[in-house]
């Protein structure tokens, strides 16, 4: 195992996953020194709230439920939530929902751990002061993986701090629903991209490899059951929670950067661009880091396929496997075969490559353009 001279990896996220995992929340709250959580509830289906509140029966723990926080709460709403938290004597926050609810809870946690003014101060990547209040996340849809990450977005503000990561993610299959059509497949492709790029990153370390490997295995092993979505919701939610941790500990790779840049410059959604770009970015990175790419084939293809592939051919096998996996995840919403097929003009590629390029040894403009050109043609 290759251990870099210097690396760091931080994951404060504990995962409680499985049938009746919700019932563990009161004990986990007590372990965090909390007795009364404020629960931010996103839009829920019938029965979800009853299941959630029933988990607190016989625990002696009262909860304050705040239903329907706006997807994009403004500072006035945040102050109201801060008042509610303080007036009701709350001492922890639980986000029950998806990405928007988790982001609102993260930002609220900055406010309730200090003062509402701290939110504006912490926006824009400035440091978040000190440890925050206990924050638990209960997904009701698998989400997009950023819920457990160190990132949060609130309107024009962006926040980034390891303190924002939830202390506990509770994945109870009784709460999970698939969400909008195509959202789960897109989220899993995004998680896959995060994990694959972490495995192929120059700054990879043993722990990021382990987390990313688990994400890839969870996605790959459950993709075949994608037609029966309800069967894969819990593994998908686990994969997405872990991908948030990976995302928090690694720099964004070329596929992620280029997908964002393309969606900003051309009429293509970020998820579709990611689905087209990822195999090409992986092939590009595999050429640079063949040993890491060879290891990546094991979680991606499974032990049988890994051992059945000659060692010298393993790096080249990664991109086709990724493409097949992405097609399986997409199901009926198959991504275009190339950027050309997606209707993108070749003239937009240099601009996107320029936008995605970053300094300090990251993605160069020439490398980005090379990946985009391959993806435009659709080869391999």
């Amino acid at each position: 195992m290759n251990v870099p001279d210097l690396f760091s990896f931080q994951s404060p996220v504990k995962i409680d996953s499985g049938w009746r995992a919700l019932e563990n929340i009161p004990l986990e709250l007590a372990g965090s020194g909390a007795r009364k959580p404020l629960v931010l509830c996103g839009p829920q289906r019938d029965g979800t709230m009853e299941t959630f509140t029933a988990a607190f029966a016989d625990s002696g723990t009262a909860v304050v439920l705040y239903e329907g926080p706006p997807a994009d709460p403004d500072p006035a709403v945040l102050r109201e939530l801060w008042n509610l938290y303080r007036d009701r004597g709350c001492d922890a926050i639980i986000a029950l929902g998806g990405r928007a609810t988790a982001d609102a809870a993260k930002v609220l946690n900055i406010a309730v751990s200090g003062r509402p003014e701290d939110v504006e101060r912490a926006a824009g990547g400035k440091s978040v002061a000190g440890p925050l209040r206990p924050f638990f996340y209960c997904p009701t849809t698998p989400g997009d993986g950023r819920e457990t990450s160190c990132f949060a977005r609130l309107g024009k503000w962006n926040f980034s701090s390891p303190s924002l990561m939830p202390n506990l993610a509770v994945i109870d299959p009784r709460l999970l629903r698939e969400g909008p059509s195509g959202a789960l497949g897109a989220a899993l492709v995004s998680a896959l991209a995060t994990a694959v790029e972490a495995c192929l990153a120059p700054a990879r370390n043993p722990l990021s490899d382990v987390y990313a490997g688990v994400v890839i295995r969870l996605v790959a092993e459950n993709a075949c059951a994608a037609k029966k979505r309800t069967l894969v919701l819990a593994p998908a939610a686990n994969a997405l929670c872990l991908s948030g941790v990976v995302l928090s500990n690694t720099a964004r790779g070329p596929a992620s950067r280029l997908a964002v840049a393309l969606s900003a410059k051309a009429p293509i959604r970020e998820a579709a661009a990611m689905a087209v770009l990822l195999p090409h970015a992986a092939a590009f990175l595999a050429g640079k880091h063949p040993a890491a790419a060879a290891e990546l084939l094991l979680p991606l293809a499974g032990a049988d396929a890994f051992t059945g592939t000659p060692p010298g051919e393993r790096p080249a096998e990664v991109a086709p496997r990724l493409r097949s996996l992405i097609l399986a995840l997409a199901g009926a919403d198959a991504p275009p075969a190339s950027l050309d097929a997606a209707g993108l003009s070749k003239e937009t590629l240099p601009e996107a490559a320029r936008l995605a390029a970053c300094g300090d040894g990251g993605l160069s403009e020439a490398d980005g353009l090379a990946i985009l050109s391959l993806a435009w043609k659709g080869t391999p």
Binding site: R20, A57, G60, V63, Y66
Partner: protein, 176 residues
């Protein structure tokens, strides 16, 4: 201000009552099982003198306490661990996990593997207690149910199980 409401925790009186009866019965069965079963007696003998253990449900019970007295015999010490010195405390994380265990949908080993039990004390002592509980469950339950509750159903003669079951039920109910 959006919609908010405070929800007080509900109660599960029937589940609590069921668990209290089960724990009471298992607790009273252990000393009798130790009298009639040499294997259980040997396990008890291996525990330190004055050793006390409890098996309970978080956050607020019910529970059972069993101890070893100065003469080396196992004693059922009641349902309340408050004010007692407990050497080994086995705590089930919540009432639903306890119901799963005591309705035999999950065996002790499976529940432990699923992190439903918190052990506060020495692990070797916890292993002894789990072996004692498994043996007592074999005596108390019909084979079809006991096989769900224990890791491996023992290959004991039928006469040993039936006679032991009769003695334990009689002793646990009548108190001798």
């Amino acid at each position: 201000m959006g919609n908010f409401r405070q929800v007080e925790p509900g109660r599960k009186p029937f589940k609590r009552a069921y668990l209290a009866v089960m724990l009471w019965f298992v607790g009273r069965s252990i000393p009798i099982a130790a009298k009639i079963d040499p294997a259980i007696a040997k396990e008890i003998a291996g525990l330190p003198e004055g050793f006390t253990f409890s098996l309970g449900v978080l956050p607020a019970g019910p529970a059972m306490i069993v101890g070893k007295d100065a003469s080396g015999r196992a004693r059922y010490l009641g349902l309340r661990p408050e004010g007692r010195k407990i050497d080994l405390s086995l705590k089930i994380r919540n009432i639903e996990a306890a119901i799963g265990m005591f309705t035999f949908r999950e065996g002790t080993a499976v529940a432990t593997a699923r992190n439903r039990l918190i052990v506060d004390g020495e692990v070797p002592h916890a292993c002894v207690v789990v072996r004692i509980l498994d043996a007592v469950e074999v005596y108390l339950l019909f084979k079809v149910i006991a096989r769900l509750a224990v890791k491996r159903y023992p290959d004991w003669p039928m006469g040993r199980i039936l006679w032991g079951r009769f003695r334990i039920y009689l002793g646990a109910v009548l108190g001798f």
